[in-house]
């Protein structure tokens, strides 16, 4: 397993018009964006052959400047981004990459010290 390369590839293969981050940045430079968050679970020995399964969240963010602003943009992303991410070619890094759901609903995201964003966490499992 090469978790660093996996996160880098998921971020690097971002579609046009949205920025991808392989790890949580100090400040998100521009919206919309998604962040490959830190692993929630790693099963190092899923099988006798040593297959590994990583569970993590893909945090999807859109800008928000006022109450209820830009919710529609996040609606669009949580509708379309899962299929786009699942279609990333693994380049030998994983055997399966699935977005299984959205956990915890939409939430306010404090970006650095000033701007806010609206976010949602998509649960992803990666079989390696």
């Amino acid at each position: 397993m090469d978790l660093r390369a996996i996160r880098d590839r998921i971020a690097d293969q971002h579609p046009a018009g949205i920025r991808g981050y392989a790890r949580p940045p100090g400040t998100v430079g521009a919206f919309p964006a998604y962040i490959v968050t830190d692993p929630l679970d790693i099963d190092y020995r899923l099988t006798f052959g040593g297959r590994t399964r990583v569970t993590l969240a893909i945090r999807v963010l859109v800008s928000r400047r006022s109450e209820q602003d830009n919710t529609a943009a996040l609606d669009d992303l949580v509708s379309t981004l899962p299929a786009v991410l699942e279609a990333i070619t693994p380049d030998g890094l994983w055997q399966g990459f699935n977005i299984t759901g959205l956990q915890g609903g939409y939430f306010q995201f404090q970006n650095g010290n000033d701007s806010e964003a609206l976010g949602a966490d998509l649960t992803a499992t990666i079989d390696i």
Binding site: R45, L46, T47, F48, G49, G50, R51, R53, G101
Partner: protein, 137 residues
């Protein structure tokens, strides 16, 4: 013992990468005899030997998957598959035997529940030839 990586071969193919659980259970039937006027103790004796393997695996659908191997075995006259199980990756020896034999495939399951990882568990009886515990390095 902590179960780490091992080598599970079924039908001559290494399915370690798909196999989550592989256990061999050997049991003897308990035959009970009645107490008598001369001996009040119930008599217990060992009866027939039964051996089964339990396999849990990722239920892949590819041509090279274990599920396909089991599915196709059902169409063969004997419906039997050979197996070899070594529960560590170390060389075979007295403290790390390989268990070999054949089991009778009595069922195969295709498909699963959407948006969930697909695993299946099967229990198969061992053929009359029994299980060999190989400790030859």
């Amino acid at each position: 013992m902590f179960q780490a990586e091992g080598v599970i071969t079924i039908g001559g193919t290494d399915y370690s990468d798909e196999t989550i659980e592989f256990t061999i259970t050997r049991t003897r039937e308990l035959v009970k005899g009645p107490a008598t006027f001369g001996n009040i103790r119930q008599k217990n004796a060992a009866g027939a030997l039964d051996e089964v393997v339990v396999i849990t695996a990722l239920n892949e659908i590819t041509a090279a998957s274990l599920q396909t191997e089991l599915y196709d075995a059902l169409d063969t006259p004997t419906s039997e598959l050979t197996f070899s199980a070594k529960f560590t990756t170390a060389a075979i020896g007295a403290d790390n035997p390989a268990y070999t034999g054949s089991f009778v495939v009595t069922g195969a399951t295709v498909g699963g529940t959407v948006n969930q990882h697909n695993t299946q568990t099967w229990t198969f009886g061992i053929t009359p030839a029994g299980i060999t515990r190989d400790i030859t390095p």
